[in-house]
């Protein structure tokens, strides 16, 4: 979807303001918002693409005005409601309201330690040969799906070059809608700044993205 999250190339947000000696979390609750997002992931309550889709589906004014972890907490609430983990009454009350179903097994510290350390790759066996090879010119499709996608708007319709064949990876467009992992070939595609931003832009800038095969076409 063309959401507020897709902000590459937008103007008006002002300068980047780095913070000296920035703490990992600015408030205690931010650490908890973060940890809750991780544990719900470990518990496999939903997949990461579905979570991203929910987050970017918020109305743009709300998305753009929430703080970073505020956005996570808001998304967690919505996911818990959608996946039947909590009711609106429970979120309002701040605790479980009987009768409720106990989870089959709780995520433990050992599970989390495992998640932090061990690889959980997104690569999958290839269903067939890759359509493009390194050096091929490709056009990012001009597509505007209503579902989750990871093809930024600023690249759509533009011609780039395959810089690398990454492998065959879980396809977010399908995964986010719980339609399965539907793995596709993934490429690093390199675009010239001129192609993306026009003749007046800096001639020495290039932008690379990862694009799944269904995002690309022969120019």
């Amino acid at each position: 979807m063309n959401s507020a999250a897709d902000m590459g190339g937008m103007h008006g947000f002002g300068p980047v303001v780095p913070e000296k000696n920035e703490p990992v979390f600015h408030e205690e609750w931010e650490g908890h918002s973060f940890a809750l997002n991780m544990v719900t992931g470990v518990a496999n309550l939903w997949n990461i693409d579905a979570f991203r889709f929910k987050r970017e589906s918020l109305p743009p004014p709300e998305y753009l005005n929430l703080s970073y972890y505020g956005l996570w907490t808001r998304t967690l609430e919505l996911m818990m409601l959608e996946y039947g983990i909590a009711t609106p009454e429970e979120l309002k009350a701040g605790h479980a309201i009987a009768p409720f179903k106990q989870a089959p097994r709780a995520v433990t510290a050992a599970d989390c330690d495992n998640m932090v350390r061990c690889a959980r790759p997104f690569s999958r066996p290839a269903p067939g040969p890759a359509l493009f090879k390194v050096g091929d010119k490709v056009r990012a499709k001009n597509m505007h799906p209503k579902h989750h996608t990871r093809l930024p708007r600023y690249t759509r319709g533009h011609v780039g070059e395959i810089a690398r064949i990454v492998g065959c990876h879980v396809f977010p467009d399908s995964n986010a809608s719980n339609l399965g992992e539907d793995p596709h070939w993934l490429y690093t595609v390199r675009f010239d700044g001129h192609e993306l931003w026009g003749a007046d832009s800096d001639p020495k800038v290039r932008v690379c993205i990862e694009a799944w095969e269904p995002y690309l076409e022969k120019p």
């Binding site: 743009p60 004014p61 709300e62 929430l66 808001r74 609430e77 979120l91 309002k92 505007h144």
Partner: protein, 206 residues
């Protein structure tokens, strides 16, 4: 628990209200604005200029073929014949709806709107949902207004990016044969002249 846009708005509004009053006072004290001019401006757009102007134009185009021809050729002057002209209507283009083509007007970049014929735009016309979707999904927007057009009707969306202002001339409803202009004008709704609605049915006026 949910983000309450309403509470947020209320807070903001009271603050804006105070600032508007403060600014009006200062501008008046400094002699930059004439308070009587302010009152007149408000009165003009609250009571005088509005969609009833556009409705006169449409009703005349429905009954007077020569006028209709002038309207589609050179709308600004044809509309001025009826006494409507000026601010935010310096260059007007009339768009003809036909059984095969439906026109719809939007301003994605701000809120351009033909003031002399339609008055000031409604909130929905200026809202992000309309501005974002009218160009990409006009059929979906029409559904928000309860309208479904036949699938093979061409929809032409006009994004008002310059100082040209667009007025949709909807199709004359059947069953209005022999009606006079005044009576026909009652059928012409504001939304039908934006392309987000259709004229009223003759039943609603009889």
């Amino acid at each position: 628990m949910a983000y309450d846009q309403h509470d947020h708005d209320r807070l903001e509004l009271s603050e804006t209200q105070l600032r508007v009053r403060a600014l009006e006072t200062v501008l008046t004290e400094k002699g930059y604005v004439d308070p009587a001019a302010l009152d007149l401006l408000i009165e003009t757009y609250e009571t005088k200029v509005g969609p009833h102007n556009g409705a006169r134009v449409v009703a005349k185009a429905w009954t007077d073929p020569a006028y209709r021809a002038r309207l589609f050729k050179e709308a600004t002057s044809a509309i001025a014949e009826l006494g409507f002209a000026g601010r935010q209507g310096e260059h007007i283009v009339a768009l003809e709806n036909t059984p095969k083509r439906h026109n719809m007007v939007v301003c994605t970049l701000c809120s351009c709107y033909p003031w002399p014929v339609l008055g000031l735009p409604p909130v929905w016309y200026k809202s992000a949902p309309y501005r974002s979707r009218a160009v990409a999904d006009p059929r979906g927007v029409l559904k928000d207004f309860g309208i479904t057009l036949p699938k093979d009707t061409e929809i032409r969306v006009w994004d008002s990016t310059s100082e040209i202002r667009y007025l949709v001339v909807p199709m004359r409803p059947p069953g209005t044969e022999g009606w006079n202009e005044d009576k026909l004008a009652e059928l012409v709704t504001r939304d039908s002249m934006i392309g987000a609605g259709l004229p009223k049915s003759p039943k609603d006026v009889k």
